[in-house]
Assembly symmetry: C2
Homo-oligomer: 222 residues x 2
Amino acid sequence: MSATSRYIRLLAGEYGEKLDLVEEKPWERRREFLAMNPAATLPVLIEDDGPPIVGGVIVGEYIDETRGVFSRDKRLMPEKPIERAEVRRLTEWFVEKFDQEVTRYLVRERIFKLEMSKEDGGGSPDASAIRAARTNSRHHLRYVGWLAENRNWLAGSRMSQADLAAAAALSVLDYLGEIPWENEPAAKEWYSRIKSRPSFRPLLSEKVRGVPPVRHYADLDF
Amino acid sequence: MSATSRYIRLLAGEYGEKLDLVEEKPWERRREFLAMNPAATLPVLIEDDGPPIVGGVIVGEYIDETRGVFSRDKRLMPEKPIERAEVRRLTEWFVEKFDQEVTRYLVRERIFKLEMSKEDGGGSPDASAIRAARTNSRHHLRYVGWLAENRNWLAGSRMSQADLAAAAALSVLDYLGEIPWENEPAAKEWYSRIKSRPSFRPLLSEKVRGVPPVRHYADLDF
């Protein structure tokens, strides 16, 4: 349920790269984890016992620079600096802003709190946090709809990292039944295109214990 | 007093690029500004009437890709992906994390509130926000000290964008007299190296009306 880890899994999947996944609960603040990433954020990528590469945006750039550059017309980052800036703006939007205003609260209140100890902040969900996140979510969904109406893919005419970052974030909310797709047909059409990609399949088959996904979650034709 | 705008000014300065500065008060949420950047964050760069490039990290990447790449051994971004990841980690640390935990509060409470209308959130400073920011600031300064003790420059053996991002953030706090340099001699030695660079000079000569800098702010030998 980490939207940013999902983004990296999609990106690696698009380049045919298999990752070994290790679950980490950042709120436990494990010593070994803090030594890898003092910011205590996810995801962290380790390649061939090299130093840890931390943070969704940065791991994304690393995968582009080590995998994307060799993928020719399948590269998910454009060549021109001004187009790269737009891909980065939207990637950052979904990895940082959307997370800070929406996903973080909904996932924390509806999922992580069930697993957290009382000392770590576990307990019953905070209704006002959920309400605020849902209000913010409507504006973001409207923005995705607007982008999908005006462009073929979110950052321009070709699929890019930004589409994966956005779809990763929306997939977490969709699991929780938090997306009224009927209000945003263009966003829905775009999401169903991304959702049909092979890289998406592993995400759709995973379930959180005790929190089943909404019925349409794994349907490619929803 | 925008640490991130300062970072971009330093970066452009290092590449000998002159910027035309336009002051923007994001809390006023000007229509034209929101149209350029719906996230309402600073800085925004516009080049040759092209589309706006928004956000400190992203503008930094853009300047690297359009100026840095032509600067050979003066480029402030390394070539190797793994080293680039470390420069990016620290740049993001100072542009995002340090801002969210420290600078934002101190600047808002001690400077912006004097200029803001009551509706926009102006008024007297919130002592508890200032206290929390100062506590966070100690941990960050300790981290800069640790990096400066263990490396020649913050992200490695050569000066990089990360040094500029960190120095930009610290310069704002230093203006306000919020940095106890005597506690962190290695950080102080590193900062005095950066502060002596010609790109830093314009920042040191600017003053906020009604809020004079601490006495040592513009001294190269402080």
